[in-house]
């Protein structure tokens, strides 16, 4: 059983090694989509992130616990 799992080809690395035209295009598209998604996320983060980061982080001091 363990052997089988080890031999299972992985989609990702297969694509990379045989980076022919189609595969590369697919990857580029995927990369683009990821970038768009990340942009959207960063926009949302901008809306909620606390202001004065330096001050905020500096003021967060805890006593050790447990």
């Amino acid at each position: 059983m363990a052997q089988e799992q080890k031999q299972k080809p992985s989609g990702g690395s297969g694509d990379e090694s045989s980076a022919k035209g189609e595969g590369a295009q697919k990857l580029a598209k995927k990369g683009e989509k990821l970038k768009e998604e990340m942009d959207a996320l960063v926009d949302e983060i901008d809306e909620v992130l606390e202001e004065n980061a330096e001050e905020f982080v500096k003021n967060y001091v805890q006593r050790g616990g447990e």
Partner: protein, 495 residues
């Protein structure tokens, strides 16, 4: 035959009050915990008589003073909830100990219910603060300045399994499980090697292999021998090496995989020794390697990556689950996820961006850095790390990912909301929670393994609950239905 892995977690939260020059963590914690209201308003003691945090699993009693607060302080700092949980002030942190559950899926539900209870009380507490002040709560383990607070797991174990056995097979597992159970952290602390980002919030703080301490010279394996159950039969393994996790899959796999390894240790089926040459050093090396490629030294001279070591445990566990018919069905999901996660970690950890805390956090921060042109040293990046753990649904960055469907869920919001008020039905937490709901005015004191009643002028009656799997709904619903008050309950119990 391994005994059922009854489990629970204790999460200490970070707390701060913004715009309050006189911020005092302890009084803020007391305010927070007392701002949480359930239907009843009874003043119930936490029963410290039963506690013994200085007993060492290696067979001795450590000298030291046991903490026993006076009655007023006790009531102000401890709340036992109708869902069977304990919500209290531990040193300078609010802490939520979830009720005992029987499987990792229920654990996710009840740990998440804890977050909602903290958030509810935070909102209430804010109403009592001076204008402009605002209380904030973080489910993390460090203030990025060298102060750490814990997130502990507990697992019921068979007393017959020697502690030595446990240590031998658990150490390599604990050093390496952070590849999927780490909550991620920007930078390093506690004089550890500098780094940009590491897998675990806690790894920098472990300084010794095995010991009783939890606050200084923290050990990878904690020896506290306080079973909160029949001590002839059980141990409670008190795990202090984990992170406070946010994503449901991380919590599920953390507790599920650990429970399986403990069951396998009890059944004596982990034969190979993966003993590490230097666990304290290795735990930091693994944490400081987000590529998950670094090899660590085994005592045999062999070198393996943390992921390879996890694969070894995972393969044993997969076989074990196939052969054990009486395990909770959720363990099938545990091994499936575990295998998949190990494969992804070997290929590219970033594949786990929607499941594993540290990966989700790292991807989010890197996306932000790229767009803003800032680096790991920027205070905005440190803020992202902190705010990932903020409990406010509208501000917390984990909750932002959740809202946007960027992280996988394993349980429903309804299940979590129910667990705020309903105890698990299949452990003694059911009896505890129901007694608090039905007879709160007559409950005098509570501990994990007992509940005592003050009925009129009679002496206090303590009911022991030494068996974590008794006092379930199936066991006690008839009894509770036929007992209209605690006096009747006690009488019916004697009958």
């Amino acid at each position: 035959m391994a005994i059922p892995k009854v489990m629970g977690t204790e999460v200490e939260y970070g707390i701060t009050v913004r715009n309050d020059r006189d911020f005092d963590p302890i009084s803020s914690c007391v305010l927070l915990v007392n701002s949480y209201r359930e239907d009843h308003d009874a003043k119930i003691l936490w029963d410290y008589d039963q506690e013994n945090p200085l007993a060492d699993a290696r067979g001795f009693q450590v000298e030291g003073e046991k903490y026993t607060p006076n009655q007023q302080e006790n009531i102000a700092r401890n709340k036992t909830l109708v869902n069977g949980a304990r919500y209290y002030v531990d040193h300078a942190h609010p802490e939520y100990s979830c009720p005992e559950v029987t499987n990792p899926r229920d654990l996710v539900i009840h740990e998440k219910a804890g977050e909602r209870i903290l958030e509810k009380s935070r909102i209430e507490a804010n109403g009592l603060l001076p204008e402009g002040a605002q209380m904030l709560i973080y489910k993390n383990n460090s203030d990025q300045k060298g102060n750490s607070y814990g997130s502990h797991e507990n697992y019921l174990m068979d007393r017959r399994t020697s502690f030595k056995q446990i240590v031998e097979h658990l150490m390599p597992f604990f050093v390496t499980r952070q590849v999927y159970s780490g909550a991620g952290k920007v930078g390093s602390e506690n004089r550890a090697q500098p780094c940009d980002f590491q897998l675990s919030q806690r790894a920098d703080f472990f300084e010794t292999e095995v010991a009783l301490d939890t606050m200084v010279k923290r050990p990878i394996i904690n020896t506290r021998d306080e079973p909160h159950a029949d001590r002839e039969k059980y141990r409670r393994l008190h795990v202090i090496v984990g992170d406070a996790n946010m994503t449901e899959p991380t919590i599920f796999l953390r507790n599920g995989a650990t429970a399986l390894v403990l069951s396998m240790i009890e059944d004596g089926i982990i034969k190979p020794s993966f003993a590490l040459r230097d666990p304290v050093r290795a735990i930091k090396e693994v944490s400081h390697d987000p590529d998950c490629k670094r090899e660590i030294h085994l005592e045999t001279g062999k070198r393996l990556t943390a992921v390879q070591l996890q694969r070894e445990y995972c393969e044993l566990a997969t076989r074990y689950v196939t052969q054990s018919s009486d395990l909770d069905p959720s363990y099938k999901d545990v091994v499936e996820m575990w295998q998949r996660v190990v494969e992804s970690l070997e290929r590219d950890p970033m594949e786990l961006v929607d499941e594993i805390d540290w990966v989700a956090k790292k991807a989010m921060i890197e996306g932000f850095m790229e767009r803003k042109g800032v680096d790991w040293g920027s205070s905005q990046v440190r803020l992202l790390d902190l705010q990932f753990h903020d409990l406010r649904p509208d501000k917390g960055l984990y909750f932002l990912l959740e809202r946007q469907g960027r992280v996988k869920r394993l349980v429903s919001d309804e299940e979590i909301d129910d667990a705020v008020y309903e105890p698990p039905e299949d452990t003694r937490a059911y009896f505890r929670g129901r007694c608090l709901k039905l007879y709160s005015g007559q409950v005098f004191g509570v501990n994990w393994d007992s509940i005592s009643f003050g009925i009129g002028d009679e002496p206090i009656k303590r009911i022991l609950m030494a068996e974590p799997l008794k006092g379930t709904k199936a066991h006690v619903d008839d009894l509770l239905d036929t007992s209209k008050d605690a006096a009747e309950l006690v009488r019916n119990l004697r009958a």
